[in-house]
Amino acid sequence: MPFDTTNPEKLRAEIRAWLAENCPAEMQDGDTTADSICWGGRNWTFQSDAQKQWLDVCAENGLTCPTWPQEYGGAGFDRDQEKVWLSELDRINARLPLQSFGIWMLGPALLHFGSHEQKLHYLPPITRGEIRWCQGYSEPGAGSDLASVQSKGEDKGDHWLVNGQKVWTSYADKADWIFALIRTDKDAPKHKGISFLLFDMQSEGVSTRPIKLISGASPFCETFFDDVKVPKDQIVGTENRGWDVAKYLLTHEREMISGGGSGRGAGRSLAKVLADAGHDLSEASLRTEAIACDIEEMSVALTIERYKDQAAGGKGVGDASAMLKYAGTELNKRKHELFMSAGGSEALQWDGATGSLPADWLRTKANSIEGGTSEVMLSIISKRVLGLPG
């Protein structure tokens, strides 16, 4: 890690110089659309040499996961230092070097629940973009009731024999490993018999089938486990206490979804949509809604920042994170309705001049369903934050 972190201004100057030297010009194009993301993984095809170069140089310096400890591949930044890093990236419109479920979800879980050996084993490959992870939570028919896990792991001494089925597994067909909730004690109460297991998607008995969405894309899969052997050391936390890990992770997921993954730009601006469509905001109702969305977007973004500040200050955000997920996803849907309206008839075409606007619009409809529905978030708030009765 090449930076002097003793004071923020020094750090800022050093990061700025480092970026000038190391961030390829192509990676400073301000592109935050889904297509520009570097996910990494065994089968990853880099879109350009610059994308690979940018990933590698960041990974070498702990900057793909700047807040993780240096020994696990991070830069050991605290919250304020991370802000400096992100604001300097913003300043030059740089892309993030790497995004992944490993960074957003498994990493935080391992850092909290994993053993030192597990951290050393699993985290560095994530920071280098070598292993791409997916999340196996939802099961068919379970919907919002995540704890009703039916996929079961039979204890076979040195391994569990896993059978069952997951659904809504994001990018399971592209992932290398999975972290999954598996019922390891079928006699225990619903939340008590679940374990949090890790295994290779190339294990014998694992298969996936993409689900085609209304947007035409297939970011989710059905995932099938047929006599999959999972060694006993591939568990995070304690046997049958996987729900604790899952709950911890759900909190993280909410923050991630609300912040669009990276907490940075949402990839599309009203100004761009209007410019592409040759349209403007002279009509009162469109203008009113555009400003209202702007107000909501700035407010939610500030709230994400405030909650992160609070968490960094040692005050856990806990169940209140449900609010970020709720407000962020509802806003995203509203914003894309606005975009569609601003785009007019051009936006009604799959491959019109405004690009993938309708696909993105349809994709946002899942935001308030995946990772816990808006209804579940509101129930969490009302019961756990406000203390309203059962």
Binding site: S144, E283, E337, G344, L348, A366, T373
Partner: protein, 375 residues
């Protein structure tokens, strides 16, 4: 004040339409068309002609059943419930209404007859920008000798890829209102039609006109007077589209209520969750209220067409809001399954979005209302 409930004739029409469409064109048929890359089913169109639907607004002299706009709206509403894709609104509602303004013209009379018999389809080539704005037409119809030469680009021409003929709006003078409506075959020299890949999988085209010749015969009504013919047609189309959207809302809502009654989560039927109950009840209220505006638009167009603009814009504005809510709640309450292409709800959402834009969205009609009210 007129009666806003259905007459006996209308009730019979609705019942028979529903019976026919449930058999001949449930949502599954739309899926088949979509999967086959087809925008509509000509055989179904022929059946609709046999039932008299394509002639619902055609005078009896020209072979129509001439039941009026209320009836046309009811048919559109029933079609909306199961997402029936056809050129009904373009041809049987809008073109028929435009042509019947000049029905004493033999060519128009003949065309009306062919619309009624199902032998002729039309599309209206009006808009040039991304938003509905017929008054902003820039496309030129230059006078050449006794005729005209049309050059320019039209977009979002619904049913424009398959229509036999086009009603084309073009500028014949510099004054704001100096617009003329031409009725020309869609394959005339100089016309290039490019299919638009619409999210609702229906027919829409970008159409370019490159020195397309038109004669005085091709003018519908009088030169520079397009709006006297087009305005009634637009209103008829807007009302019928609003009706279709209300049917669509009912269709999506019906699926949603059924799901609430059968889907279990956390051990109980999700229809027992009061938050969902109240949202469903609110949506139902919206659909009921919208239905009243459709009924009113139909009655006004049939009984006092010169003063129907407010009623029509009200219906379309309200229908836009309600359809948007109906499909959003439909997807959300269905959860993950509502997001899959294998499930039908997405079709409702996509059609609702296109129908919102076509012939003026909420904002357009809100401003029409404001103008009429003098705001």
């Amino acid at each position: 004040m007129t009666n806003l409930t259905l007459t006996e004739d209308e009730t019979m029409l609705v019942d028979s339409a529903r019976g026919f469409l449930d058999e001949a064109s449930p949502v599954g048929k739309f899926r088949e068309l979509r999967d086959a890359g087809k925008a509509y089913n000509p055989a179904l169109w022929k059946q609709m002609a046999d039932l008299g639907w394509t002639g619902v607004l055609v005078p009896e002299d020209q072979g129509g059943i001439d039941m009026g706009h209320s009836a046309a709206n009811l048919l559109a509403q029933e079609m909306g419930k199961t997402l029936v894709s056809s050129p009904f609104i373009s041809t049987a509602v809008m073109a028929a209404t435009a042509l019947r303004q000049v029905a004493d013209n033999p060519r128009a009379a003949e065309a009306l007859g062919k619309i009624a018999s199902g032998d002729l389809t039309y599309a209206l080539a009006l808009d040039e920008g991304v938003k509905h704005a017929p008054h902003n037409t820039q496309m030129q119809a230059e006078r050449v000798g006794n005729g005209f030469s049309l050059s320019g680009e039209k977009t979002f021409v619904v049913d424009g890829g398959s229509a036999d003929r086009l009603l084309v709006l073009a500028r014949t003078g510099d004054d704001d209102g100096a617009l003329t409506l031409f009725d020309i075959p869609a394959d005339r020299d100089g016309i290039t039609r490019t299919a638009q890949n619409m999210i609702d999988a229906r027919d829409s085209a970008q159409i370019s006109f490159d020195g397309v010749e038109a004669t005085g015969e091709d003018v519908v009504g009088s030169v520079d007077q397009a709006m006297s013919v087009l305005n009634p047609a637009l209103r008829a189309g807007q009302a019928a589209l609003a009706a279709e959207m209300t049917g669509l809302s009912s269709g999506a809502f019906g699926m949603t209520v059924s799901y609430l009654q059968e889907r279990k989560q956390f051990g109980v039927l999700i229809g027992q969750f009061q938050a969902l109950q109240h949202r469903a009840a609110h949506l139902w209220s919206d659909i009921e209220v919208t239905t009243s505006t459709i009924a009113n638009a139909g009655r006004m167009m049939d009984e006092d067409p010169d003063n129907a603009a407010l009623a029509v814009s009200l219906a379309k504005a309200k229908a836009c809001q309600t359809a948007k809510l109906a499909v959003m709640e439909g997807v959300q309450m269905h959860g993950g399954i509502g997001m899959t292409d294998a499930f039908d709800m997405g079709f409702f959402m996509k059609r609702a979005r296109v129908a919102q834009e076509w012939l003026g969205d909420y904002g357009y009609h809100a401003e029409q209302i404001a103008k009429i009210k003098g705001y």
